[in-house]
Every structure is written in structure tokens, then in C-alpha cells.
């Protein structure tokens, strides 16, 4: 083993997908909650809607690309929660709540990260479908008839966005405090090993 070896941890594709997701999500959350309650008088809603729709289009393309990449590079098991992860969850939680000092090796991501990433994937899909139905109505809305009307669909879109917005700070906090090695790898792609 070479000393101070430089190892590729996050591929270029992963980093591109990650940062595109980051920026589009920030734009979507701010513009989305502004649409829910426009608190600045005189700020053109047309512009906010354009920002929201454009970001949503990039977000959905990014989600499709991300899914394609993880399936065809056979790395999906890194981010999707499995039964094995669920069995390991109690042990992981005892580490999170300071009952254990160390946690065992889980692979690229731990069960907590996998839970959040899997839920984000599903939330992203839900937001995309409900968002498209709210934007284009007509045939997209027909997918939900008669179980969900347009009003309930808007409420569902809002709750999914609330979940997204509430879990992002947890991800950022843990990324900043848990492992600086992996944190810098999401920028540079590499990590240096002793």
C-alpha cells in the first residue's frame, strides 16, 4: 500500500449529479415556499414561477440521469436501503445517540444515509409527478382521478417539499461534522489515505 495514497471516492458523474441536485433543490425550495405564501409585495410571480419551473425541469432531468447512472454503473446498492441495513439500524442509532463510540464499517454510506437517500429518491419522484400534474393539469391530473383532486395534490406536493426541506439540514450537518475526509471528496472527488 502506497503511503498517502490518493483514492477516487466520488466519481465526476456523482459530483456533477450531486451539485446539480443541490442547487436546483435550493432554488426549488425557496421559490416553492414563496409561491405558497408570497411575502414580498411587488416581486413578479411570473419570474418566481419561471425559476421554479426551470429548476424543476433540471431537477427531473438530473433525477433521471442519477437513476440511470446508479442502475447502469451497478452502484445502486450503495444508496438504496436494504433489509440488511434495517437490521443494522439499531446499532447505527446507538452510535448516533452517543451510546457507542464507533460504528462498524457499513460500506460507502451508512444505513442512516441510505434511509435519507432512498426517501429522497421517492420524494423526488413524488414531487416530480405531482408538480407536473399541477403545472400541466389535463392528462397528468387524470392519473390521480378520482383518488386525489387537484387541491389534495397541491397539499401532497407541499408536504413532500416540507419533508425535503426538513431533512436537507440534517444531511448538511452530518456531512460537516461526521467525516471531513468524505466531505472534501464531494468537492475534489478524491481522498488521501495514510
Amino acid at each position: 500500500m502506497v503511503k498517502n495514497e490518493k483514492v477516487l471516492h466520488q466519481t465526476l458523474a456523482t459530483r456533477l449529479f450531486h451539485w446539480t441536485l443541490f442547487f436546483t433543490t435550493i432554488f426549488l425550495i425557496i421559490s416553492g415556499f414563496y409561491i405558497t405564501y408570497p411575502f414580498i409585495q411587488g416581486l413578479p410571480m411570473r419570474t418566481i414561477k419561471t425559476i421554479h419551473a426551470t429548476s424543476a425541469f433540471i431537477f427531473m432531468s438530473n433525477l433521471a440521469g442519477y437513476t440511470y447512472y446508479y442502475i447502469f454503473s451497478k452502484q445502486w446498492y450503495h444508496i438504496i436501503l436494504s433489509w440488511r441495513d434495517l437490521r443494522e439500524f439499531p446499532g447505527f442509532l446507538s452510535y448516533v445517540f452517543f451510546l457507542r463510540k464507533e460504528h462498524p464499517f457499513y460500506g460507502k454510506y451508512n444505513p442512516g444515509q441510505k434511509l435519507i437517500y432512498t426517501s429522497w429518491f421517492l420524494t423526488g419522484l413524488g414531487l416530480s409527478v405531482t408538480g407536473l400534474a399541477l403545472k400541466f393539469k389535463g392528462p397528468m391530473l387524470a392519473l390521480f382521478t378520482p383518488y386525489l383532486n387537484i387541491s389534495s395534490l397541491r397539499l401532497l406536493h407541499y408536504y413532500l417539499a416540507v419533508y425535503f426541506a426538513a431533512t436537507i439540514p440534517i444531511h448538511i450537518y452530518l456531512a460537516l461534522t461526521e467525516n471531513p475526509v468524505k466531505l472534501q471528496a464531494i468537492f475534489s472527488g478524491y481522498l488521501r489515505r495514510k
Binding site: P38, F98, T177
Partner: protein, 404 residues
Amino acid sequence: MLTRREFLKLCTTASLSLGLSNTLISEIAQAFAQNLIPKPPLIWLELGTCTGESISLDNAVSPDVRVLFQEIVDLKYHWLLMQAQGKRAVQAVFETIENHPNEYILVVEGSVITKDQGRYNMVFEYNNKMYTGIDALRLIAEKAKHVIAVGDCAAYGGPTAAFPNPAGAVGVWQVIDRKVINVPGCPSNADWMTGTIAHVVMYGEPELDDYNQPKMFFGQTIHDLCHRRSDFETGKFASYPGEPGCLFKVGCKGPVTFADCPVRQWNNHINWPVETGAPCIGCANPGFPDATMPFFQHLPNIQTSLKPINPLTVGKIAGAITALGIGSHLTFNVLTGRLGKHWLQGTVDTDETSQEKVKQEEIIMHKLDQVLHKQETLIDHNLCKKEGLINKMNKLVPRGRKKI
């Protein structure tokens, strides 16, 4: 007689200031005079409701109720508007079912009460038998040519079915096993009812959307047609009802309600809520009123037996829980020294069981497998090739000679 296209044009935007207009009346009168259109019998059945649709229809001007019920259709039963009473009135219903099967139109107003076999909604008595709303509906709808549910109650349950819905009120389509044309609204606009009935009489079933609502009246959202739309786009919002500007912030449900109120308007096309400074409450919405309450807030509450859950409160609670969770975890992170340890380790990985090493081993093993597989394939291929060559060479060997 008007073509269907001309009729639709009349019903949508072209002559809204004239209602369904004198043009329609004269055209219909002419068509009936020439016996071009058969005048179908009509039964108007009222179930669990406030009679709002009948009152709204009573406000119709052009065509008015008289024209509708005497010249466009042959009204057989309407408990409020008919002259006959008691047994004679109900007899008309049974005679219509018997004498005009698959010819008459059934218009239902009000939701169907289902709790306790519908005993909270008795509609009439005939031959010493009390008929509940649900029984009467099933009986009459069975042989009707068209069933039209007018008002939000008949279409989707409406206010009668609002939480906690003690009477078990539901829409007509949930009770009978056949197509129901829904004309929602609380109440339904007189034009929507007369227009739909006239279309059914003259041209048959109108073009419907996914909720079986006539597209000619419910094809676009109120928000898309609203005359305050420009205020929405430019960000001029009213802070309270009555103020100029878009009423979005005070809970207008126009973006989620499909109806043509802004162009058709109410009270003989004089006015409508938004014009007077009140937000749309989404009364033509399939989920009305639960899906649109509170009326002066953007998003609806979720009704529970304990307390209504407000989405904005849920959002704030979610934010507070996240902030509290991160804050307390950070405190413990600092106090236990875990944060310091992580940051002191810096950005050089010291983890001996790091995933990369495992991954590298996995990759090497995988590559070795691939190489072995390739070699085996190559050997097999070469053997086959060799066998093929030998066979070919053997064919060239003359008869009687020793083959390879």
C-alpha cells in the same frame, strides 16, 4: 337548428353577457316547433341538500325556469316546483318510469345519505311505503336515459359530506353503477345546469373531463380566466379581503378550481366573488369543502377527530424539530469530544476498513474472474475452431485414405 359547435360556442365565451341567451331560446323554440327535437320527460330528485340548486335555477334569466321546464323538457316531478302534491305528485314519478323507460332524464340535487340504510333522508311515500333517497335514486336511475348530478352535494358529497360526515353522505356516482354527468358548484350556476340539460336534450352527452364534468363549463381553472390574473403575475397581492390586487394570499382557491365563473359570473352575469374582493372558496372543487377549508388560507387543513391539522403549522413544526435535533446533537457532539476528534483527524483517511479497500479487492477479484472467463471462452472457441478445421480437412482426404 344550431349545430353542436355553435351551441358550444354559445355556452363558452362568445355571448356570456347574454347568458345562454335569447339566441338559444329562439333556436330551441324553432326546433321544437318543427318537431326537430323530442321533448324528453325530466324527473328532478332532491336528496340531502339545502335546495340551493333549485333556488339557483330559479334565478336563471335566459332561458328561465319556465322555458327550461316547459319548452326544453317535459318536467314530470320536482317536489318544490310542481303543482301536484302528495300521492298524485309521486304517481307521476312511477308513471314516467313505466311509460318512458330509457327516455327520461334524471336530475339529482343533493348528496345520497347512506348511514343506516339511508333512513335519515326519506323523500316520498307511495303505496304505503316510505322511500329513502338512496332507494328512490336507484329505482329512478335504473331506467333513465341520462343521469345528471347538479351541485357539489350530488356530484361529490359536498358540504353534506364534510368531516365528520355523520350521515354518511356521498355523491351520486358512488351509489349507482352507471355514468353520471357531474355539474358541481355550491350552488351550481344556473347556466351550467340549463346548458348541460339543453345539450343533453339537443345533442346527447356533452364532452366530459375526468370527473365527468362538462368541459364547456369546467375546462379551465378560475385562476386562468381571472381578471386579477395580471396582479398575480406582477406580484400585487391583497393582504385582506376587499383590497385591490390578487386574492391568492387571502386563500383564493382559483388555481385549483375548474370553472368559468370569471367570465360567466353570477346573478344574471352581474358579478362574482373575486370582483367584490372575496376570494374564491373553490365550491366547484371535487373535494369541497374539506379540501378547500379554511377559506381564507392558501392550503387546506387535514381534518382529524382531535383537531384540524394546518399545513403551515406542520411545516413550522418540522422546521423546529430539525433545528432542535441538530442543535442538541451538536451540543452532545461538542461535549463528548466526537466533533473535535473528527475534525482533528483532518482530511486524511485513517480508517483501515475503508470501503475503497474492500472495493478494490472486489474489483481485482471481479477482474480475475473476467480474465478466467475470457480464457475459458477462448479455449472453447479454439477447440471448436480446431474441430471444424479437422472436419474440413477430413473431407479433402480421398476415400480409402486414413483420416486425421
